[in-house]
Protein backbone atom coordinates (compact mmCIF):
# COMPACT_ATOMS: atom_id res chain seq x y z
CA UNK A 1 0.00 0.00 0.00
CA UNK A 2 2.80 2.41 0.85
CA UNK A 3 4.87 0.88 -1.94
CA UNK A 4 4.15 3.84 -4.21
CA UNK A 5 5.70 6.28 -1.74
CA UNK A 6 8.65 3.93 -1.26
CA UNK A 7 8.97 3.76 -5.03
CA UNK A 8 8.89 7.54 -5.30
CA UNK A 9 11.72 7.74 -2.78
CA UNK A 10 13.63 5.27 -4.93
CA UNK A 11 13.01 7.30 -8.09
CA UNK A 12 14.22 10.48 -6.36
CA UNK A 13 17.45 8.70 -5.42
CA UNK A 14 17.85 7.50 -9.00
CA UNK A 15 17.27 11.03 -10.21
CA UNK A 16 20.00 12.30 -7.91
CA UNK A 17 22.40 9.66 -9.20
CA UNK A 18 21.67 10.65 -12.79
CA UNK A 19 22.42 14.28 -11.99
CA UNK A 20 25.53 13.50 -9.96
CA UNK A 21 26.92 11.10 -12.53
CA UNK A 22 25.87 13.28 -15.44
CA UNK A 23 24.26 10.22 -16.94
CA UNK A 24 21.39 10.32 -19.34
CA UNK A 25 19.34 7.42 -18.12
CA UNK A 26 19.14 4.47 -15.80
CA UNK A 27 18.89 1.14 -17.55
CA UNK A 28 18.80 -1.25 -14.61
CA UNK A 29 18.05 -0.99 -10.90
CA UNK A 30 18.76 -3.67 -8.31
CA UNK A 31 16.76 -3.35 -5.11
CA UNK A 32 17.15 -5.63 -2.13
CA UNK A 33 13.94 -6.11 -0.14
CA UNK A 34 13.79 -8.40 2.84
CA UNK A 35 10.58 -10.23 3.79
CA UNK A 36 10.62 -8.17 7.00
CA UNK A 37 11.07 -4.80 5.32
CA UNK A 38 7.34 -4.17 5.21
CA UNK A 39 7.44 -3.74 1.46
CA UNK A 40 5.83 -6.21 -0.93
CA UNK A 41 8.01 -6.95 -3.95
CA UNK A 42 4.97 -7.39 -6.18
CA UNK A 43 3.47 -4.05 -5.21
CA UNK A 44 6.80 -2.30 -5.61
CA UNK A 45 7.09 -3.71 -9.11
CA UNK A 46 3.62 -2.48 -10.00
CA UNK A 47 4.33 0.96 -8.57
CA UNK A 48 7.62 1.42 -10.42
CA UNK A 49 6.30 2.44 -13.86
CA UNK A 50 3.93 4.95 -12.23
CA UNK A 51 6.59 6.47 -9.98
CA UNK A 52 9.28 6.61 -12.65
CA UNK A 53 7.20 7.87 -15.57
CA UNK A 54 8.83 10.87 -17.18
CA UNK A 55 12.10 10.47 -15.24
CA UNK A 56 15.50 9.16 -16.42
CA UNK A 57 14.71 5.96 -14.55
CA UNK A 58 11.60 5.21 -16.59
CA UNK A 59 11.81 1.92 -18.49
CA UNK A 60 14.75 0.69 -16.40
CA UNK A 61 14.81 -3.02 -15.70
CA UNK A 62 13.88 -3.48 -12.03
CA UNK A 63 15.56 -6.43 -10.34
CA UNK A 64 14.30 -7.34 -6.89
CA UNK A 65 16.57 -9.46 -4.72
CA UNK A 66 15.56 -11.10 -1.47
CA UNK A 67 17.90 -12.26 1.24
CA UNK A 68 16.78 -15.13 3.48
CA UNK A 69 15.66 -14.36 7.02
CA UNK A 70 18.50 -15.38 9.34
CA UNK A 71 18.82 -14.96 13.07
CA UNK A 72 21.67 -15.31 15.54
CA UNK A 73 20.84 -16.73 18.96
CA UNK A 74 22.13 -14.94 22.04
CA UNK A 75 21.68 -18.05 24.18
CA UNK A 76 23.38 -20.78 22.19
CA UNK A 77 25.14 -18.78 19.50
CA UNK A 78 23.58 -20.67 16.59
CA UNK A 79 22.82 -18.90 13.33
CA UNK A 80 19.70 -20.32 11.72
CA UNK A 81 17.12 -19.62 9.05
CA UNK A 82 13.80 -18.26 10.25
CA UNK A 83 10.43 -17.15 8.88
CA UNK A 84 8.72 -13.78 9.15
CA UNK A 85 6.55 -14.70 12.12
CA UNK A 86 8.91 -17.19 13.73
CA UNK A 87 12.16 -15.44 14.46
CA UNK A 88 13.23 -17.66 17.35
CA UNK A 89 16.42 -19.75 17.42
CA UNK A 90 16.15 -22.78 15.14
CA UNK A 91 18.35 -24.82 17.50
CA UNK A 92 17.31 -24.04 21.07
CA UNK A 93 14.03 -22.19 20.47
CA UNK A 94 15.00 -19.11 22.49
CA UNK A 95 13.44 -15.84 21.38
CA UNK A 96 16.50 -13.82 22.34
CA UNK A 97 17.80 -13.62 18.79
CA UNK A 98 19.20 -10.90 16.58
CA UNK A 99 18.21 -10.54 12.98
CA UNK A 100 21.14 -11.07 10.62
CA UNK A 101 19.27 -10.53 7.38
CA UNK A 102 15.76 -10.23 6.06
CA UNK A 103 14.72 -6.65 6.79
CA UNK A 104 16.67 -4.94 4.01
CA UNK A 105 15.18 -2.11 2.02
CA UNK A 106 18.14 -1.09 -0.08
CA UNK A 107 19.05 0.36 -3.40
CA UNK A 108 21.83 -2.10 -4.18
CA UNK A 109 23.00 -1.32 -7.68
CA UNK A 110 22.27 0.97 -10.57
CA UNK A 111 23.30 0.62 -14.18
CA UNK A 112 23.38 3.88 -16.04
CA UNK A 113 24.00 5.05 -19.52
CA UNK A 114 26.18 8.02 -20.27
CA UNK A 115 26.33 10.20 -23.30
CA UNK A 116 29.74 9.04 -24.49
CA UNK A 117 30.20 11.87 -26.94
CA UNK A 118 29.63 14.41 -24.22
CA UNK A 119 31.96 12.60 -21.83
CA UNK A 120 34.69 12.15 -24.44
CA UNK A 121 34.67 15.82 -25.40
CA UNK A 122 34.89 16.79 -21.76
CA UNK A 123 31.49 18.46 -21.79
CA UNK A 124 29.49 17.88 -18.68
Amino acid sequence: MHELSVCQALVRQLDEIVQRERAIRITQVVVRIGPLSGVEAQLLRQAYPVASAGTPAAHAELILETLPIRVACESCGAETNATANRLICGVCGDYHTRLLSGDELLLAQVELERDELATASGRH
Binding site: M1, H2, E3, L4, S5, V6, Q8, A9, L10, R12, Q13, D15, I17, Q19, E21, A23, I24, R25, Q28, V31, R32, G34, L36, S37, G38, V39, L43, Q46, V50, G54, P56, A57, L67, A84, N85, R86, L87, Y95, H96, T97, R98, L99, L100, S101, G102, D103, E104, L105, L106, L107, A108, Q109, V110, E111, L112, E113, R114, E116, L117, T119
Partner: protein, 284 residues
Amino acid sequence: MCDTCGCNITPGNAHLLRNDGPLARSADGREAITLLKGLLSENDRQAAHNREHFDRQGVLALNLMSSPGSGKTALLEATIEALAGKLRIAVIEGDLETENDAERIRAKGVPAVQIATGTACHLDAHMVHDALHRLDLDNIDILFIENVGNLVCPASFDLGHHRNITLLSVTEGDDKPAKYPVMFRAADVMLISKADLLAVLDDFDPAAAERHLRNLASRAPVLTVAARKQRDIDAWLEWLRTEVAAQRERVARRETLHPAVQSEGQALHANSGTGQPHRFVRLP
Protein backbone atom coordinates in the same frame (compact mmCIF):
# COMPACT_ATOMS: atom_id res chain seq x y z
CA MET B 1 -1.59 -1.75 -5.62
CA CYS B 2 -3.85 -0.40 -2.91
CA ASP B 3 -5.84 2.30 -4.63
CA THR B 4 -7.75 3.40 -1.58
CA CYS B 5 -4.72 4.17 0.53
CA GLY B 6 -3.51 6.93 -1.79
CA CYS B 7 -0.20 7.06 0.01
CA ASN B 8 1.46 8.25 -3.18
CA ILE B 9 1.98 11.95 -2.67
CA THR B 10 1.59 13.19 0.86
CA PRO B 11 1.50 16.90 1.65
CA GLY B 12 4.79 16.34 3.44
CA ASN B 13 6.72 14.88 0.54
CA ALA B 14 5.08 16.67 -2.38
CA HIS B 15 7.79 19.32 -2.45
CA LEU B 16 10.40 16.63 -3.01
CA LEU B 17 8.87 15.30 -6.17
CA ARG B 18 10.78 16.24 -9.25
CA ASN B 19 9.93 14.91 -12.64
CA ASP B 20 12.16 17.11 -14.73
CA GLY B 21 14.98 14.73 -15.49
CA PRO B 22 17.37 15.39 -18.38
CA LEU B 23 16.40 14.47 -21.89
CA ALA B 24 17.46 10.99 -22.88
CA ARG B 25 19.75 10.58 -25.84
CA SER B 26 21.05 7.33 -27.17
CA ALA B 27 24.57 6.31 -26.17
CA ASP B 28 26.48 3.15 -25.43
CA GLY B 29 28.63 3.54 -22.34
CA ARG B 30 26.85 1.70 -19.57
CA GLU B 31 28.16 1.67 -16.07
CA ALA B 32 27.02 -0.13 -12.97
CA ILE B 33 27.29 1.47 -9.55
CA THR B 34 26.80 -0.46 -6.35
CA LEU B 35 25.37 1.68 -3.58
CA LEU B 36 23.64 -0.29 -0.83
CA LYS B 37 21.75 2.76 0.29
CA GLY B 38 18.53 2.69 2.30
CA LEU B 39 15.53 3.24 0.06
CA LEU B 40 13.98 5.51 2.66
CA SER B 41 17.19 7.34 3.52
CA GLU B 42 15.55 10.65 2.68
CA ASN B 43 12.79 9.98 5.21
CA ASP B 44 15.39 8.75 7.70
CA ARG B 45 17.34 12.00 7.34
CA GLN B 46 14.24 14.01 8.08
CA ALA B 47 13.43 11.72 11.00
CA ALA B 48 16.89 12.29 12.49
CA HIS B 49 16.27 16.02 12.20
CA ASN B 50 12.92 15.66 13.99
CA ARG B 51 14.60 13.64 16.72
CA GLU B 52 17.10 16.46 17.24
CA HIS B 53 14.17 18.84 17.72
CA PHE B 54 12.63 16.55 20.32
CA ASP B 55 15.89 15.98 22.18
CA ARG B 56 16.86 19.63 22.17
CA GLN B 57 13.52 20.49 23.74
CA GLY B 58 13.58 17.55 26.11
CA VAL B 59 10.46 15.96 24.66
CA LEU B 60 9.71 12.24 24.68
CA ALA B 61 8.10 11.44 21.32
CA LEU B 62 5.89 8.35 21.11
CA ASN B 63 4.35 6.83 17.99
CA LEU B 64 1.00 5.06 18.48
CA MET B 65 0.09 2.44 15.91
CA SER B 66 -2.76 -0.05 15.58
CA SER B 67 -5.64 -1.15 13.38
CA PRO B 68 -8.40 1.42 12.96
CA GLY B 69 -10.59 1.52 16.04
CA SER B 70 -8.24 -0.28 18.44
CA GLY B 71 -8.55 2.54 20.95
CA LYS B 72 -5.60 4.88 20.29
CA THR B 73 -7.56 8.09 20.74
CA ALA B 74 -9.51 6.75 23.72
CA LEU B 75 -6.23 5.80 25.41
CA LEU B 76 -4.85 9.28 24.77
CA GLU B 77 -7.98 10.86 26.28
CA ALA B 78 -7.70 8.70 29.40
CA THR B 79 -3.95 9.33 29.65
CA ILE B 80 -4.36 13.10 29.40
CA GLU B 81 -6.96 13.04 32.17
CA ALA B 82 -4.81 10.87 34.41
CA LEU B 83 -1.65 12.94 33.92
CA ALA B 84 -3.28 16.38 34.11
CA GLY B 85 -1.08 18.65 36.22
CA LYS B 86 1.68 16.00 36.34
CA LEU B 87 3.11 15.71 32.84
CA ARG B 88 2.63 18.15 29.96
CA ILE B 89 1.30 16.51 26.84
CA ALA B 90 0.84 17.47 23.18
CA VAL B 91 -0.56 15.38 20.36
CA ILE B 92 0.07 15.16 16.64
CA GLU B 93 -3.02 13.55 15.22
CA GLY B 94 -2.50 11.58 12.04
CA ASP B 95 -5.50 9.30 12.27
CA LEU B 96 -8.23 9.96 9.76
CA GLU B 97 -9.35 13.57 9.89
CA THR B 98 -13.00 12.73 9.67
CA GLU B 99 -12.85 11.05 13.09
CA ASN B 100 -12.21 14.46 14.65
CA ASP B 101 -9.57 12.95 16.89
CA ALA B 102 -7.75 16.29 17.28
CA GLU B 103 -10.99 17.86 18.52
CA ARG B 104 -11.39 15.04 21.03
CA ILE B 105 -7.86 15.74 22.33
CA ARG B 106 -8.29 19.53 22.44
CA ALA B 107 -11.49 19.03 24.42
CA LYS B 108 -9.23 17.62 27.15
CA GLY B 109 -7.27 20.89 27.21
CA VAL B 110 -4.15 19.67 25.42
CA PRO B 111 -2.61 21.17 22.25
CA ALA B 112 -3.25 18.98 19.21
CA VAL B 113 -2.30 19.38 15.57
CA GLN B 114 -4.24 17.46 12.98
CA ILE B 115 -2.20 16.32 10.01
CA ALA B 116 -4.23 16.45 6.83
CA THR B 117 -3.29 12.97 5.69
CA GLY B 118 -6.05 12.92 3.10
CA THR B 119 -6.39 9.25 2.39
CA ALA B 120 -2.74 8.45 3.14
CA CYS B 121 -2.09 5.18 4.92
CA HIS B 122 0.88 6.25 7.03
CA LEU B 123 2.67 9.29 8.41
CA ASP B 124 6.16 10.15 7.25
CA ALA B 125 8.91 12.23 8.83
CA HIS B 126 8.19 15.25 6.62
CA MET B 127 4.55 15.41 7.66
CA VAL B 128 5.55 15.20 11.33
CA HIS B 129 8.14 17.93 10.84
CA ASP B 130 5.53 20.29 9.40
CA ALA B 131 3.24 19.52 12.33
CA LEU B 132 5.84 19.89 15.07
CA HIS B 133 6.56 23.44 14.03
CA ARG B 134 2.95 24.26 14.76
CA LEU B 135 3.42 23.20 18.40
CA ASP B 136 5.28 24.89 21.22
CA LEU B 137 7.45 21.99 22.31
CA ASP B 138 9.33 23.99 24.94
CA ASN B 139 6.79 23.26 27.62
CA ILE B 140 5.98 19.67 26.69
CA ASP B 141 7.11 16.43 28.35
CA ILE B 142 5.43 13.90 26.05
CA LEU B 143 4.48 14.28 22.41
CA PHE B 144 2.14 11.56 21.23
CA ILE B 145 1.92 10.95 17.51
CA GLU B 146 -1.23 9.01 16.68
CA ASN B 147 -0.46 7.29 13.40
CA VAL B 148 -2.99 6.30 10.74
CA GLY B 149 -4.96 3.20 11.77
CA ASN B 150 -3.15 0.58 9.71
CA LEU B 151 -1.06 -2.44 10.69
CA VAL B 152 1.10 -2.40 7.57
CA CYS B 153 2.38 0.89 6.23
CA PRO B 154 3.25 2.96 9.35
CA ALA B 155 5.88 0.45 10.49
CA SER B 156 8.20 1.34 7.60
CA PHE B 157 8.54 5.06 8.32
CA ASP B 158 10.72 6.50 11.06
CA LEU B 159 9.14 9.74 12.27
CA GLY B 160 11.97 10.77 14.59
CA HIS B 161 10.14 9.44 17.63
CA HIS B 162 11.79 7.51 20.47
CA ARG B 163 9.38 4.65 21.06
CA ASN B 164 6.77 2.65 19.15
CA ILE B 165 3.58 1.74 20.97
CA THR B 166 1.45 -0.88 19.25
CA LEU B 167 -2.11 -1.51 20.40
CA LEU B 168 -3.88 -4.81 19.94
CA SER B 169 -7.49 -4.66 21.07
CA VAL B 170 -9.16 -7.74 22.47
CA THR B 171 -11.84 -7.51 19.78
CA GLU B 172 -9.15 -8.43 17.25
CA GLY B 173 -7.53 -11.84 17.02
CA ASP B 174 -4.76 -12.70 19.47
CA ASP B 175 -2.76 -13.93 16.46
CA LYS B 176 -2.40 -10.44 14.97
CA PRO B 177 1.35 -10.34 15.83
CA ALA B 178 1.84 -13.46 13.71
CA LYS B 179 -0.15 -11.96 10.84
CA TYR B 180 1.57 -8.56 10.94
CA PRO B 181 5.12 -9.39 12.02
CA VAL B 182 6.67 -6.23 10.60
CA MET B 183 4.38 -4.02 12.68
CA PHE B 184 4.56 -5.97 15.92
CA ARG B 185 8.31 -6.57 15.68
CA ALA B 186 8.67 -2.79 15.73
CA ALA B 187 6.79 -2.41 19.02
CA ASP B 188 8.70 -1.15 22.06
CA VAL B 189 5.63 -1.92 24.10
CA MET B 190 2.51 -3.85 23.11
CA LEU B 191 -0.74 -2.72 24.72
CA ILE B 192 -3.62 -5.15 24.87
CA SER B 193 -6.43 -2.62 24.73
CA LYS B 194 -10.13 -2.71 25.64
CA ALA B 195 -9.19 -5.21 28.36
CA ASP B 196 -12.54 -4.51 30.06
CA LEU B 197 -14.08 -6.63 27.30
CA LEU B 198 -11.95 -9.70 28.13
CA ALA B 199 -14.66 -10.74 30.57
CA VAL B 200 -17.20 -11.09 27.79
CA LEU B 201 -14.89 -12.25 25.00
CA ASP B 202 -13.62 -15.78 25.45
CA ASP B 203 -11.68 -16.08 22.19
CA PHE B 204 -8.90 -13.61 22.99
CA ASP B 205 -6.11 -15.07 25.09
CA PRO B 206 -3.58 -12.44 26.27
CA ALA B 207 -1.01 -15.19 26.91
CA ALA B 208 -1.37 -16.37 23.30
CA ALA B 209 -0.96 -12.80 22.04
CA GLU B 210 2.24 -12.52 24.04
CA ARG B 211 3.50 -15.88 22.71
CA HIS B 212 2.95 -14.68 19.14
CA LEU B 213 4.89 -11.52 19.99
CA ARG B 214 7.82 -13.49 21.52
CA ASN B 215 7.95 -15.60 18.36
CA LEU B 216 8.98 -12.37 16.63
CA ALA B 217 12.04 -12.25 18.92
CA SER B 218 10.46 -9.28 20.67
CA ARG B 219 11.41 -8.45 24.24
CA ALA B 220 8.85 -5.66 24.46
CA PRO B 221 6.72 -5.54 27.59
CA VAL B 222 3.07 -6.48 27.15
CA LEU B 223 0.60 -4.39 29.18
CA THR B 224 -3.17 -4.50 29.32
CA VAL B 225 -5.18 -1.28 29.29
CA ALA B 226 -8.83 -0.35 29.53
CA ALA B 227 -9.52 3.24 28.56
CA ARG B 228 -13.31 3.11 28.77
CA LYS B 229 -15.73 1.45 31.18
CA GLN B 230 -13.73 0.10 34.15
CA ARG B 231 -10.77 2.29 33.32
CA ASP B 232 -7.42 0.69 34.14
CA ILE B 233 -4.31 2.25 32.68
CA ASP B 234 -2.01 2.09 35.71
CA ALA B 235 0.65 -0.15 34.15
CA TRP B 236 0.72 2.08 31.09
CA LEU B 237 1.08 5.24 33.17
CA GLU B 238 3.94 3.63 35.05
CA TRP B 239 5.64 2.76 31.74
CA LEU B 240 5.18 6.37 30.60
CA ARG B 241 6.69 7.81 33.80
CA THR B 242 9.70 5.52 33.46
CA GLU B 243 10.15 6.52 29.82
CA VAL B 244 9.90 10.24 30.60
CA ALA B 245 12.56 9.85 33.29
CA ALA B 246 14.78 7.86 30.92
CA GLN B 247 14.41 10.51 28.23
CA ARG B 248 15.39 13.25 30.69
CA GLU B 249 18.53 11.30 31.57
CA ARG B 250 19.37 10.77 27.92
CA VAL B 251 18.91 14.45 27.17
CA ALA B 252 21.18 15.35 30.11
CA ARG B 253 23.83 12.97 28.72
CA ARG B 254 23.24 14.28 25.20
CA GLU B 255 22.20 10.85 24.01
CA THR B 256 19.23 9.82 21.95
CA LEU B 257 17.18 6.71 21.30
CA HIS B 258 15.70 5.05 18.26
CA PRO B 259 12.67 2.77 18.39
CA ALA B 260 13.75 -0.80 19.11
CA VAL B 261 13.06 -2.25 15.69
CA GLN B 262 16.13 -4.34 15.16
CA SER B 263 17.64 -3.26 11.92
CA GLU B 264 20.84 -5.26 12.07
CA GLY B 265 20.12 -6.80 8.70
CA GLN B 266 19.59 -3.40 7.16
CA ALA B 267 22.74 -2.08 8.83
CA LEU B 268 24.83 -5.10 7.89
CA HIS B 269 23.90 -4.84 4.26
CA ALA B 270 24.16 -1.10 3.87
CA ASN B 271 27.15 1.20 3.76
CA SER B 272 27.08 2.89 7.12
CA GLY B 273 28.97 5.98 6.07
CA THR B 274 28.55 8.15 3.03
CA GLY B 275 31.78 6.88 1.54
CA GLN B 276 32.30 6.69 -2.19
CA PRO B 277 30.17 4.00 -3.75
CA HIS B 278 32.14 1.11 -5.11
CA ARG B 279 31.85 1.05 -8.85
CA PHE B 280 32.77 -1.18 -11.71
CA VAL B 281 32.13 -1.27 -15.40
CA ARG B 282 29.66 -3.95 -16.33
CA LEU B 283 30.93 -6.65 -18.65
CA PRO B 284 29.00 -6.98 -21.87
